[in-house]
Symmetry: C7
Subunit: 79 residues, 7 copies
């Protein structure tokens, strides 16, 4: 990944990120790690695809090939 | 994979992990091994896609490209 | 990527790009970074798939494999 | 593949394995070989997708990208 | 890519090419650049999927994995 | 590919193999060559997807990513 | 690609090949070039998916990942 992509992900460590998935809505969680495939480690992750029924997922490893976009903390508006 | 992803998987060895699959519900099993493709070895695996009809699968090798998320032990709530 | 592709992306840094996605409409945002997979960093990104309901997304990392086309700034007409 | 994945497959050589396929039911056969893509060689293979109509396939090379899970011998229950 | 494929693309630089896309109709534009993934840079690109409603796209970077065929200039008939 | 997979394919050279395809039925033909992607060269190939309407295809190069299974000669029963 | 696959493609240069595509019918054209991804250069290409409405495509570069089979010249019957 480019320095810029890595830079943004590193600055986001320990903070909450929003992840939009291919065909599977959205997840939100505290970013704990990532790699060059955009595999992510999220803590206190939540499935927020249905705003009226947020599901707690705990800590997860998210396989990068499911991702459309990752929004770093404080940059995204309320869903 | 990043050190963080490997670190979490290594700490999970011997414990129960939850795996959500692309289009195929969820599996649960004791994590016995993994590799850089997120291929997993699970012991006493169960297909828990249908909570009322859990199917025992025994030991399995799960090909990583089927995975959306892996939840390490004790981090995920009851389904 | 070829020098030409990199050249165009580098000249677009700091300016607004339009991105058409596979099956997911279009995004618009200020290009802050990119890599060889066409992963993009977009600031002040907006989902403009529905012209009557533009959604602000803030800063995002867009995974390149979702992309059909990227239009550099000032080269594309109004949608 | 990790040592653990290879280890399990090597111990399974000459014994019967169960393979679940993406969208194509299940196969069963004696494992004769494998590689890092999870390509498998199965002898006396059977398509057991329909329990009432098991189809004998003889020896087959199964391309790994069709696989969801592989169950080593004696670890899986009757279907 | 083979010398032949590169040769044809290089001879097409600065001229108009027609591109047929997987499931997304056709684009036409002046070829400005390309790389080994068949990523293309097209200037004055047009979406000609609907002959009665040609849409101007300006300059675009087209991600190669969306492509079925590329027709070099002067080789293809009117659509 | 593993020695075992290569071994089976090499022993099959000049003999008839059966190939099951992803979503496209089955082909049968004399195996003339193969490579590490499981690309196959088949002579006197036939499309046997419809047993009542076998279509002769002549010699073909089959791209490996279309394949589910390959059955070496004399190992598979009549369809 | 194996020597055999390359050998067949090289012998086919300058002659007419038939290409069957994933979900998109068939093309026919004079083979002018190829590479290891099975990307093909075809001259005087025709879309023969509909036998009653053959469409002339001129020269094309065909991206290899769209291909199911390639039939070298004189080996395939009339469609």
């Amino acid at each position: 990944m480019s320095d810029k992509v890595i830079d943004i992900l590193e600055k986001s460590l320990g903070k909450t990120a929003l992840v939009r998935l291919k065909n599977r809505g959205s997840l939100r969680g505290r970013l704990e790690g990532f790699d060059e495939h955009l595999n992510l480690v999220l803590r206190d992750a939540e499935n927020i695809s249905d705003a009226r029924n947020v599901k707690k997922l705990g800590s997860i490893i998210l396989r990068g090939d499911n991702i459309v976009t990752v929004s770093p903390p404080k940059s995204y508006p309320l869903v």
